[in-house]
């Protein structure tokens, strides 16, 4: 064997490959790469009459498991249509949809995570929402906002979640608080009291950067009036005094030792909350189940809207899932009719009963089981004051920039002003992608 020769052959082969691939490289970008973009796209109206034919739907996890059976009710008014649901694991779902769009092998409808909308819409993979199938005003404004890319809506909010303040009522009582805090000053005092008088090791648990911490840090900036992009989503506007002030406030919890400054492992938060290690934290509706499974009695904790700078509620984060129809759908009109059906208030209520997903349609909260659930009504109230991150193709990347700069600020690796300036300069060079 002559290894050196082999490797120099490797180098030569590589050179040939370069030459070949350069030939393959295409002809340059036209003004507007994909479908979405700055100018509003035309949306074709859908045909009258009931849906027909087969409607392929992808939905993730348990949503995918339950939707097939649930969608049978759709057939009552649309006897000639058949809804075929494929369950897709959440893990890998983004890549699956991205590849399906790239190869033009999409189903008709899919559940789309709210933070993916910008990317998929810009790729031209999604069909703009036709006029008149739903009313924007029926939905929570933050949730609707997650479907709007540029000036065009792609898809319809299906279910929502938002983040609120969880706190131990028994520890709060001991610390002299019978009501939850409503302002920033109160929240600081509240956390300090939970720690000093309530017996918690940490008054509150917040994320010290990394791994999606923008979801807990940005609400403080939003509550202070900071924005992420300008109105039409063409520029990031992270560097503002409001952002700096919001993050300065966020940082005080770590600087004063009111929150742990390490990344918690899975299970640590709910277990620690049940044990009284953490007196409060900010998270979404799925945590009610987790903390009760960890052994906490329902009367030991409560949820409250996120404190605002001067008054409650502050602005929270809204996430969830949208239903979108693909541009490559071969049964487009019927697909939209299915999405329209899923957005009816009574169907949304039934879906809540089936799986516990919170309805994106406001009317669904006004009657029935949801209206009687005090804890969920807190989430409902918070949803009126909750922002979705901007639906731009580069959001996930900028979110990770924010995560890492928040970590630097919180851990004193750089001053907050610098961190925010850094966020802005990186975000500007990334661009919104619209």
């Amino acid at each position: 064997m002559r290894p050196r020769k082999s490797l120099s052959t490797a180098a030569r082969t590589a050179a040939v490959l370069v030459a070949a691939s350069l030939v393959l490289v295409g002809c340059g970008r036209s003004d507007d790469g994909g479908g979405g973009g700055d100018k509003a796209e035309d949306s074709k109206a859908i045909a009258e009459g009931p849906a027909e034919g087969s409607i392929e739907v992808w939905a993730m996890g348990t949503e995918g498991e339950k939707l097939g059976e649930f969608a049978k009710a759709f057939n009552e008014d649309n006897p000639d249509a058949e809804v075929k649901v494929t369950a897709v694991p959440w893990d890998g779902a983004h890549d699956k949809i991205a590849n399906a769009i790239a190869a033009g092998e999409t189903p008709d409808v899919s559940l789309i995570g709210t933070t993916w909308m910008g990317e998929f819409a810009e790729s031209g993979g999604l069909d703009p929402t036709p006029e008149g199938i739903v009313e924007e005003g029926d939905f929570f404004p933050g949730a609707w906002g997650s479907t709007v890319v540029g000036d065009t809506a792609y898809g319809v909010p299906w279910y929502v979640e938002t983040r609120v303040l969880y706190y131990r009522t028994d520890l709060a009582e001991k610390a002299g608080w019978s009501e939850p805090p409503k302002t920033w000053d109160e929240l600081t005092k509240f956390a300090a009291d939970l720690q000093a008088k309530g017996g918690a090791e940490y008054g509150i648990s917040l994320q010290p950067g990394q791994a999606g911490s923008w979801q807990s840090a940005l609400p403080f900036a939003w509550s202070n009036g900071a924005t992420i992009t300008n109105d039409d989503g063409t520029e990031y506007t992270l560097d503002s005094p409001e952002m700096v002030e919001g993050l300065e406030y966020y940082k005080t919890f770590f600087a004063d030792g009111l929150s742990q400054d390490r990344l918690l492992d899975p299970g640590e938060l709910e277990n620690g909350f049940a044990k009284g290690t953490y007196g409060s934290f900010i998270s979404g509706p799925w945590f009610t189940g987790l903390v009760e499974d960890a052994g906490l009695k329902p009367e030991q904790y409560a949820v409250a809207p996120i404190p605002g700078k001067d008054e409650a509620p502050g602005t929270s984060f809204v996430g969830g899932g949208n239903l979108a129809v693909f541009a490559d759908s071969d049964n487009r009109d019927s697909a939209w009719k299915f999405v329209q059906w899923m957005s009816q208030p009574d169907v949304q209520q039934d879906w809540y009963t089936t799986l516990g997903d919170l309805p994106a349609v406001q009317e669904a909260w006004e009657t029935g089981k949801l209206a009687d659930d005090e804890r969920l009504q807190v989430f409902g109230a918070q949803l009126d004051s909750a922002n979705a991150p901007p639906a731009v193709p580069t959001w996930e990347q900028v979110a990770s920039v924010i995560d890492s700069e928040v970590e630097k600020a919180v851990k004193d690796a750089s001053p907050v002003d610098d961190a925010v300036a850094n966020m802005q300069s990186q975000a500007s060079s990334i661009g919104t992608g619209l």
Binding site: M1, P3, R4, S6, L7, A10, L17, V18, A20, S21, L22, L24, V25, G26, C27, G28, R29, S30, G33, G34, G35, G36, H94, D95, A98, I101, A102, G104, E119, F120, E122, S123, G124, G125, G209, Q210, A211, R262, L263, D265, P393, T394, E396, Q397, S400, S404, E407, K408, K411, A413, G433
Partner: protein
């Protein structure tokens, strides 16, 4: 490798050998040309464009940007940091993994009872779910009540939060990775040890060669092709280090455990296909250099 292949000029079977070789190569080459060549070329081409996931429906309507992606990466402080981290992973991981795998393989080759049991045992980390592995190892590394620090406290040392420290997190993750990966290499070395005829060792023993001497002069030289394979595969593995950092630390704290592959994975998931491809091919270049060095170091003497 007792003798080299006879020289070309005098080998009368050369023609027949060539025909046979191409027949043997055919199935691999066919599948290679269909499924590997195209995608590799395409991805290499992508690294010279500004293609993003949103362009994939119109992949030819993107701009050619020359080597801009490569220059961007080299100028990117985060990329330089993850490149440095990756070098550390290789330097820590490759010798440890190779050494432990070889030691255990030689040890297991020596015993005859319960061999099968031991082999499965040492292979278990390779097949254990990474989630379970990460839960247990995070517990070992924990600051309060972690196993390592409990042991340290017996000798009155207050141990740190191993994964929370920017200095200790990377070696900690690398150690866990060595633990998790040497089993596969051990299996390869075990098989390699079988190609050494027992007679050679026995003859040497009769001649009075000691154990260490036989290891140096028989086992190691005879194992050289397998060691080379192991070194190359392990080197590639650590240069493409990703999964352990992902589950243990999410690349933190302050990017202390982030690797080039982690960076690349992120860029792909952000949809920056052009930049991510460029990062992959820079990594490829590093692999080529490391492999060349290993071939040079471990090539046969003849």
């Amino acid at each position: 490798m007792a003798t080299a292949t006879p020289s070309r000029s005098v080998d009368p079977t050369r023609g027949r050998q060539a025909v046979a070789a191409w027949v043997l190569a055919l199935p691999f080459m066919a599948l290679f040309l269909v499924f590997t060549a195209g995608p590799v070329l395409a991805s290499f081409g992508m690294s010279f464009t500004d293609i993003r996931s949103a362009d994939m429906r119109t992949p030819f309507a993107v701009s050619f940007v020359g080597v801009d992606n490569y220059l961007d990466l080299i100028g990117n402080p985060l990329f330089r940091k993850v490149a440095f981290n990756t070098v550390l992973y290789v330097v820590l991981g490759v010798p440890l993994t190779m050494g432990i795998a070889l030691a255990i393989a030689v040890g297991l080759n020596r015993i005859t009872r319960l061999r099968g049991f031991f082999r499965v045992g040492y292979y278990l980390p390779v097949i254990t779910s990474i989630v379970a592995v990460s839960v247990v190892w995070k517990f070992l590394y924990r600051e309060d009540g972690g196993l390592f620090n409990t042991v340290l406290s017996w000798v009155s040392i207050a141990g740190p939060g191993w994964l929370d420290s920017t200095a200790l997190a990377l070696p900690s993750v690398a150690l866990m990775s060595v633990w998790r990966n040497f089993g596969a290499l051990m299996v390869i070395f075990l098989a390699g040890l079988q190609t050494i005829p027992k007679e050679m060792n026995e003859a040497a023993e009769v001649d009075g060669a000691g154990g260490w001497k036989r290891f140096r002069h028989i086992t190691l030289p005879m194992l050289r092709p397998t060691l080379l394979f192991g070194a190359v595969i392990t080197g590639i593995g650590y240069l493409q280090f990703f999964e352990e950092a992902y589950v243990m630390t999410h690349g933190g704290p302050l990017d202390a455990t982030r690797s080039v592959s982690y960076f690349t994975y992120d860029q792909f998931s952000f949809g920056n296909y052009g930049l991510a491809s460029a990062a992959s091919y820079l990594l490829f270049l590093a692999v080529v250099l490391l492999t060349a060095a290993q071939f040079r170091l471990l090539r046969s003497k003849d």
